[in-house]
Structures are given as structure tokens and as C-alpha cells.
Amino acid sequence: MTDSAPLLEVRNLRTEFLTDAGPVRAVDGVSFEVEAGATVGIVGESGSGKSVTALSILRLLAENARIGDGSRIAFRGRDLATLDEDEIRRLRGGEIAMIFQDPLTSLNPVLRISKQLVEGMLAHGRQSQAEALRHGIDLLARMGINAPERAVSGYPHEFSGGMRQRVMLAMGFANNPSLLIADEPTTALDVTIQAQILDLLKTLNREFGTAVLLISHDLGVIANVCERVLVMYAGEVVEEGPAEALLAEPRHPYTWALLNAVPRLDQEPPADKRLTAIEGAPPDPSEPPSGCRFRPRCPFAVERCGEHPDLLPVAEGRKARCWVTQAGERLLKPSTAAAVSAPAAEAGQPMLSLRNVVKHYPLRRDALFSPRKVVHAVDGVDLDIGRGETVGLVGESGSGKSTIARLITRIQKPTAGSIRFGDIDLATADRSVLRPLRRRIQMIFQDPYASLNPRMTVGQILSEPLRFHRLVRGPEEAKARVGELLEMVGLSARAAERYPHEFSGGQRQRIGTARALAVEPELIIADEPISALDVNIRAQIINLFVGLQQRLGLTFLFIAHDLAVVRQVSDRIVVLYLGKVMEVATARDLFAEPLHPYTRSLISAAPIPDVAAERKREHIRLAGEPPSPVAPPSGCRFRTRCPVAQGICAEIEPPLAEYRPGHRAACHFSGQA
């Protein structure tokens, strides 16, 4: 082992799964290095083989996985692929630690934190039980957990997601590893928490000198943490290079597409509100296309792409697997289309107007006479939606976004308040009044898998509402209309005969959209319709919405937790925190001059896929986690995490005051940071 040898060297890694449908080659000839103390990121769409690559290193794959013969995974010069079980076991958690995506399921629910924390240390036999526990408590403190002595005796369910991920990190660092593999450690967390964890990762890397292999599908996260980036597509590395250069000027069309498919917080959305989306979906890993695997979706493809390209150097320290950039072509920034004048929102009477809407969920009584606890999911929300307007609703998880959607669509009945739709108060309307209204208000759901009835064909799903609401006469007409609807959302009419499970997530989301459109609604509530999708598919769906909105003049309530996305599609934005509105403004005003400290921290917490820009940004980091909606804080709900909170905030609840026409905020110190 020479000094110049990298800490980890992966050569020609091939991993395949033997499945019922045939062998699946999930990773196909991946090579890369991680130097000691380095930070390396891997990005790529879902299914591109990121996790399998990571798991292959520690040989933590499922039973049906096989690592190919020519693969070499050298860690400090030893080939991990050929170590026996006991030797690799000693490396795991010792020299190489790994943390996973879902902190909720990564901790054993029935064991105390202390046990889970120390067992990794004890397994490597370096410490006694007592020492291990003390070390563990120190680590927890280091990871930013309050009162760690008390915390260790708790059970995982007593911790929030962010806390659990900190515990996971503590476990990872327990044995001072020289390499930490983090597989999407922040994907399941809210932006504000994500920012905390990423900061922590950076510090740990710096202070412990631990190399980090960070996996993410979010270029912004990678840009935030990593020096080098690998981009994976269909089991291959398609591009590799220093983060800054790679993000500034991608040399592979796939990287280019990834970069342009996400709306950026630091850039105004184009006037037509569209994103650059590449069509199609990643290839089926059991039958990769011949030649360049990206060719079927590549907007730059040339004839040569029928030949499979190698990963070759394209610049100093950079490699790409592309014939086009090999030949020296540059991948230009997509041209922004000429602005189409969006129909301005009509002034005057709003189409829908919520006044002081409240929804409380009583929890089940623990005993007969114990007081009933109540979840204050939505706690006095005012909201107006004008005709033809798109209103965005953002907020952290649990802030009550979905509840508002459910109340407007009357899946649930509000506890108090009024929801006026035209002349009718939806909050109190009974079944018969509601029925004709149903088709005028529609909803698009978050989960593309759960929101379509798996036992019905797409045709049945779409024609049922048509016939139920007597919008068509006879099956012939229904069939024709179904065809039209499918084409409207960019699917072929033939899709009508198939079942939902035969479609990909993005396609299903289109079907769900078609279903909502079928009854020709005036208002569509879209509850995080893109959260579950990959960036590219996301871009496709956003473009679809934008197109529909412009063509049909629909009114949208668009719910998301991703600020950039909301900004991309919305005219006006409402920021929600713990069941209360914190700020309302037009998209432009909100970003140009956020008034509420919460809005400001949200904006600054979202990472940007641009290393230089990221470095320049001002960061307001929120401490802690949102309080429980069972017992919201007195006064201003945000005060427990607010960087500018003062005494008054605990006593007086700030009203949602108008600071400028159309720009309201609920803060005693609006605009002061």
C-alpha cells in the first residue's frame, strides 16, 4: 500500500440480481475512487444503481445479488469482494460506516437507543460496555441532541425523524471510521432539517477527516457537500468530475437534463413557467438498450450513439461517457421560450375563500375519563383563490397542507370556519348540496400508486365519473372522451385498456390528472402531485400542469413542500406553519422580499445545485424541529425556532397583517432578520 493509493478504489463493479423475470444488472462496470478525507457524491435517477453500488462495497446486498467476477473493491488495498464473512464483518461499522435513507425504519423500534448505540462499538471489541455508553453519549451531544444522557434510555419512536438521523450518524461515527457511506440521508426529511444534517455532515468530515460517500438524487444536496460528483444512469457512471465544474458545465446530456429539470431558487422562473424536461423514463435494467443507454431520451443524440461509449476523460479531472461531448461539443443552456402572456388573475370576488378554517382531530381517549387530546391540524386559516389563479401552499411536513386539501374537497368536514365556493359554504353544506359541486372541485393526489383503483382499467377509471355525472351519453361517447382526455395529458388513447400497475409513476400521475379533468372542474387541488417522482418526471408533470392551466384556464391550489417548485408554477404563495398561515404574497414578492423569518429560513435552507452560488448565499439555519400540533406554542407558533423571537412573541399572537397590497405576514418583526 503506497501513500498515493486511494482509500477506496472501485474497479469495474458489476452487480446483478437474479429475479423471477430474469437477471437484473443493477450496476454495470462502475469504477471510482475515494481519497482519504474526501467527499464524493453520487447522483442519478431512481433505479440508476446508486444504492446497489453503495451496498456492494460493504456486501450488504440482498441474497439474490451476485457481484461479478471481474469486480474489484479495494479498501486500503484489500479487495472487499473476496474477503471472507468474518473479515468483512469487522470492517463494517469499524473502518467503513454506512447510514441509510429512512431514519424512521433504520432504528429497531423495540430496542433502547443506548443498546443500539453501543452494540456497534462492542461488536468491534474496542471498548467496555461503560466506556462505549459514555462515548455514545458524547457522540449524541456532538450530533446536537439535547440531554443525551436521558435520550439514550429512550426508544426510537420517541424521536423525530431528524433526531433519529442524528442518532444514526452517531452510530456511524462510533468507531471513528475512515469512510462514511450515506445513502440519501436527508431525502425523508424536511428542508430545514435537511440543512441541519448536511451541515453536520460537512463538519464531521472536516473535523474527523472521515471520507464521505454521499448518495442523493438532489444535485443541490451534492453541490452543498461534495467535492467530486459521479452521475449514474442505468447502472453506469456517465459522468465524473469536480462538483463545481460539473454543475457549472455538464459534459453529459443526462447531467445536463438533471440540472435543467429542477427549478432553481436563485433564478426567476421563465415567463412560460416551463422546465426543460427530457421525455421518457429510464430503461429497464434487465434489458438495457444497446449503444449509449441514454440515447433514446437524449436530445443531442447523433448516429455514433448506437455504439456504446466508454467513460473517457473530457477535461482535467473530468470524465464523461458521451460521444457528443467527446467530440468537443458544448451542451448549451436550453433556450427559454418566448413568454406567453399568462391570463391575469381576475380581480374581485375570489372563487374560493376560506375564513378562519379550523380542523381538530380528537385523538382516541386513553381511558374513560382522561381528557381527550386534540391535534390542531389546521388552526384558523384564511385563504382566497381567485378565478384562473394558481395558489401555491408550502410548509413543512405536518403543517396541515393535506388537511386543507381534504377540507376543501370535503373528504373531511371542518371543525369550524367557512369555506365559500361561489354562494355556497362548503363547510356546512350537506350531501345533496355538495353533490353537484363535486365535479366543479377536483383533486390530484400525492401517491401515484395509491390514488388509482388497481382493479379498474384506465378506461373504467376515466369513464366512471363521466357517466356518473352524466357528462356523456352512451359508451361510445364515453370512449371517445376518454381518448381525448388521455391525449390531453400526453398518453395514447390505447392506454385505456390497461391497468394502472402497467404504468410508471409519472404516467399514473397523468392518469390521475386526466381523471380530475374528466368532469371539467373549475378548481383543482393538487396535493404534492410531484413529490414522489424523479426530477425529470417531475419536470414533465409540471409542464403538463402549466400547459393545462394555460389552455383550459383552470384554477389551481398547488401544494408542495419544495419552494422552488411552488414558485415555478404559482401566481401567489401561502406559507403554512403548524396549521397557521405565516405569509402570503405573490411568488415574485415572496422571493424578492420575504417578510416572515420562517419564509426566509425556508428559502435559505433549500440547497442550490451551483457550488459557487451556494457558497455566496446567506444561510439562516433553524434550530430544532417543529413542535407537536397537539400542544402548539402560545403566542406566535414559530417563536420556539425563530431567530428573532422576543418576549412579546410568546404572549401575543401576531395577526396576518398586510404590509403591501397582497403581501401579508404574521410576525411582530416582519422584515427584520
Binding site: 437477471p23 467476477d69 373528504i411 363535486r438 383533486m443 393526489f445 390514488s451 388509482l452 383503483n453 382493479r455
Partner: protein, 289 residues
Amino acid sequence: MSQAADSAAEAWHADRFGRWRRRFGLAAFGAAVVLMWIAIAILAPVIAPYPFEAVDVTKRLLAPSAQHWLGTDALGRDVLSRLIWGSRISLFAGIVVVAIGAALGVLIGGVAAYAGGRAEELMMRATDLVLCFPPIILAMAIAAALGIGVRNTMIAMLVVWWPKFARLARSLVLVQRSQEYVEAAVVMGYGSGRILFRHIVPNAVGPLVVLVTLDVGQAIITFAGLSFLGLGVVPPMPEWGAMVSEGRELVDQWWVATFPGLAILSVVVGFNFLGDGIRDWLDPKSRRR
């Protein structure tokens, strides 16, 4: 683990039948056994070598032989013929009890779960009440009270059987009810009946089919057990449990009790395999390699 990927792939192809066998083999075997018994039940008049009630006390308790493959019973009747005819009753009782029980349970449990509130509470309490009793003893008491006979015994079994399905149906409906596609149906304005029967029930049917299939076996055993205790069929109708009961006092004439017992075992195993198979097939998580 690091064996040659290519040879692994080859082996994978070569073992296609093996995989099919591992995945569907047991289910296929179960289905075959069940179908065989159904065929036997249907064809009983054709294939039974003797009438099932042909008493001939001069030929009693003959050991299995060429004339009487499975021997004769205490009244000189051919055990094989009685076994063949007996399949009709066992299958009929098992299938009908479970079918009606399931239909009833689904109706009650499904509606209760969907309606919620009082109706649900009432149904839960009613099932609690039935579940207070050990099933076999309750069935026994009811069968004894109603009088012996296939129909009465089946009624007794139904009384103890429906709560199981009502509870299952309830939990299935509860699971489905919170699914987004149901919310979508609500947003569309569909009525409760439509949502329940067109959307929820078809999706809850899978686990139900599994339970129903597995349960036919249990119902057959229970019916045979009640028969064994003398609460099942009216003689001379042949029934497997009753046949075991007739033979259990015979120590040297093992064939009288052994064969009907084996018949019960085989048909129940058949249904269990089939049910397991359907479960595996419906549930991608439990799919085997």
C-alpha cells in the same frame, strides 16, 4: 456470493422449471388435490363400486382386498364407496359454510366498517359475543339444540363462523378506506354503496379469497369433528368424521377409521396448499425466487 455472474444467469435459465415449481408447485399440487376430490364428488355415482348403504352383515369388517379395496365397515359396507360418497358431504358442507359465512361476514363487516359509528360498534360487540365461546363448543351446543342433520350442523357452524369474516372484512375495508383512490372516489361524489362495492370490496377480495380457501379446510375438519361427536349426519349417509368415529373403537380393523381420516387430511392439505399458493401469488412481497 461472488460466483460467476454469467454462470449464475445460465443456471437461472436452466432452473426455470425449478423456480416455477418452487413458486407455484405447492399451489398446483393443492389445486390438483382439490379438483380431484371435486371430481370424485361429482362422479360418485359412476365411480363408487358399491352403493354406499349396501348393508351385508356377513361381509362385515373385511380387510382391504381386491373386492373391497379399502375393506368393509361394521355393517359390511364398502369403505371405498362410502369414502367416495362421503366426499360430497364434506366438500359441500365445507364450501357452503365458508361461502355463506364469508358473504355474511363481508356484508356485515364491510358495511359496518364503512358506516362506522354505532353500526360498527354494534357489529364489533356482536362478534365479541360470539368470540367469547370456544367455537367448537358453541357449535356443539347449537347443533345439539337444533337436532342432528347436515343442515342444522351447518347452521351451527355458520353461527360461529361469520364473526371471523366480519372482522377480516372490517379490517380490510378500513385499510382500503384510507387509500387515496377511495378519497378520489369521494371527491368524485360517488355514493357510499358505489364506493364500498365497486371500489373497496374488489380490492379487499384478495386476502379474503386466501382466507376463504384456507378456511374451507378448517370448515371440513370442524364439520367432521362435529360428526365425529355424533352431531353431523343422519345415517346411513356416509360422512368422513362419522366414519372415523365408527372405526375408532375398532383396534384391529384399522382401515375403517384410517382411510376417512386420510381423506380429510388430503382434502384439507389440498385447500391449504391452494390458499397458500394464492396468497403467495397475490402478495408480491412473499414471492419466492
